[in-house]
């Protein structure tokens, strides 16, 4: 459980966090989304007891991060953004060291369990310095899981992983999120959509949007976007599509596909398909495009505008 109330952090003259307020329940995966320098890492460092906030309070797993820092740190698993590891240590020894610092009674079994979870058990006896970026990331994650923490705070957990590993780690996080509180940061929107129950969009130290991914998308996307591909010249088909009422902003892309938008209240897709066939063209593909969230996210974080509510 994480409860953050009006969190402020100043680095000298610069204000990195301007009064953040949010909460995360047990069994919830909350995504922190924002551009670089938005304050994601700063917030996470405060929540893990690495540094105190300038003002405001943060309760993690029922303890205050400033006055009961040690209790918080016992209950939190943290994967820092830079994945700091001791390069001259063997993977197993490193995790054993971290497990000993946490006074785990069955340290060696826990280390093996964590390595098993992240799929690194076969590299347990290798030097950390010889690991690839993705493997380091997974060792860092294993370190965060050692003590089966109530709260997991993961700063960009999938960065540097290859596509297969990304899927594995995302599934793992989803699985872990069932009984724990997981707060993760990312700047990949599709990732937030896939694994988070709730997304908090943060920019310049302020929360600019907070909702479930589905609701966010619905709120962000007034219209649905569709891509179609036809056999033959797209330019010949375009006028017929544009002629259909409800079709907006139909354009031909560089690759010869056609894109258009329609309002969710008025699904024009069957009419578009019929129009193309009736005009004697062949329809090869029609699908909705989901990446518009990305564009609107850019919009949101660019000029710091609020969401249409």
């Amino acid at each position: 459980m994480i409860r953050v109330n009006n969190l402020i952090k100043d680095y000298g003259q610069r204000r990195a966090l301007c009064g953040l307020t949010f909460h995360a329940q047990q069994g919830e995966v909350v995504g922190f989304l924002g551009p670089n320098g938005a304050g994601k890492t700063t917030t996470m460092r405060i929540l893990t007891g690495y540094m105190p906030p300038t003002e405001g309070e943060a309760i993690v797993a029922g303890y205050d991060v400033v006055s009961e820092s040690l209790e918080v740190r016992k209950r939190v698993g943290y994967l820092p953004e830079t994945v700091p590891l001791y390069n001259d240590m063997v993977v197993f020894d490193y995790l054993k060291f971290m497990a000993d610092l946490r006074h785990l009674p069955d340290a060696e079994e826990r280390v093996e369990e964590a390595l098993e979870l992240v799929g690194m058990i076969e590299r347990a006896n290798g030097y950390i310095g010889n690991l690839s970026k993705g493997m380091r990331q997974r060792v860092g994650l294993a370190q965060a899981l050692l003590h089966r923490p109530e709260v997991l705070i993961l700063d960009e957990p999938t960065i540097g992983l290859d596509p297969n590993q990304v899927v594995e780690i995302r599934n793992l996080i989803r699985e872990l999120g069932k009984e724990r509180t997981v707060l993760l940061s990312t700047h990949i929107l599709s990732e937030a959509q896939q694994i988070c129950d709730r997304v908090i969009i943060i920019n310049k130290g302020q929360i600019i949007a907070e909702d479930t991914p589905e609701n966010l998308q619905a709120r962000l996307l007034g219209a649905k976007r569709v891509m179609i591909q036809v056999r033959g010249e797209a330019d010949d088909v375009l006028p017929q599509i544009q002629a259909i009422p409800g079709v907006r902003q139909a354009v031909v892309n560089l690759d010869g596909t056609i894109e258009f938008e329609f309002l969710p209240t008025q699904d024009v897709r069957p009419r578009v398909a019929r129009a193309i066939i009736e005009a004697g063209h062949e329809l090869l593909e029609m699908r909705t495009i989901s990446m518009s969230l990305e564009e609107i996210f850019l919009e949101l974080t660019k000029d710091n505008a609020g969401l249409p509510m």
């Binding site: 690495y50 740190r73 016992k74 943290y78 700091p84 001791y86 390069n87 370190q143």
Partner: protein
């Protein structure tokens, strides 16, 4: 307490894969070996050190070597954690700042004790060579003195290492402080009217060469060394705290 031991154990083991630690141990043992050979040779020829071989040239030179070698052992301890970002790992683990600092210091101290233990071979050999054997009381206090000097130097080194994220900077800053304690701070005692006692008290050499090294155990000397140890560990803990709040 357990955390201190966990951290100390890791640091101690780390010294054995560190080339610098081997270099320091090698240099100390080489220099002391040469001096030991000279002691044996010259006393057999009745030059330099008199006719009865004495342990003091060994312990005395060792204390001086500590000025140069302890900064090399401690420079990495926290500066490297700061540089590599692993400090974030340690500071978000359930470990108190003081436990971290004391653990680092203890690890380096145990390594230095290992080197000191190896040099015990010289008094043992010397004891076998001379009749009726060397002054064992003097040997014990001299070694106690060495251990105290090493402990205080390492503590200062750890404290200073915590201030930096660059090993070389930590090395030279520690060296500067140790040289000040060893040579410089005693100088004004000869020239100032008031406060001469303070400078004399701060001078580290007097607490070793004039007392423990010659077989005397004074409470003031013990207090002096323990104060230095406490000061170094305090500076280290404080600097971690400052880093947090920055």
């Amino acid at each position: 307490m357990r955390n201190i031991w966990t951290i100390a154990k890791r640091e101690y083991n780390h010294f054995f894969i560190s080339p610098i630690a081997y270099l320091v141990a090698f240099a100390i043992l080489l220099v002391l070996g040469i001096i030991f050979a000279l002691v044996i040779y010259s006393s057999s020829q009745n030059v330099f050190f008199g006719s009865v071989p004495d342990i003091r040239p060994i312990t005395g030179s060792f204390a001086f070597l500590l000025v140069l070698s302890t900064p090399a052992l401690t420079m990495r301890l926290l500066a490297d954690e700061n540089r590599m970002g692993t400090m974030e790992l340690l500071l978000t683990a359930p470990v108190r700042d003081i436990e971290l600092i004391v653990g680092k210091w203890l690890g380096s101290f145990l390594f230095m004790l290992t080197i000191i233990a190896i040099t015990l071979v010289y008094p043992i050999v010397l004891n076998a060579l001379v009749r009726p054997g060397i002054d064992q009381g003097l040997m014990i206090t001299a070694y106690l003195g060495l251990i105290l000097v090493a402990a205080s130097f390492l503590s200062i080194g750890v404290g200073i290492s915590a201030l930096f994220s660059n090993q070389v900077a930590a090395f030279f800053a520690t060296l500067a402080v140790l040289i000040t304690l060893w040579w410089l701070v005693g100088f004004p005692a000869n020239y100032v009217q008031t406060g001469a006692d303070i400078f004399r008290y701060l001078d580290l050499q007097t607490h070793f060469y004039d007392s423990l090294s010659v077989g005397k155990i004074n409470l003031t000397d013990l207090v002096y060394f323990f104060s230095l140890i406490a000061l170094g560990l305090f500076v280290g803990t404080l600097s971690i705290d400052i880093r947090r709040w920055r």
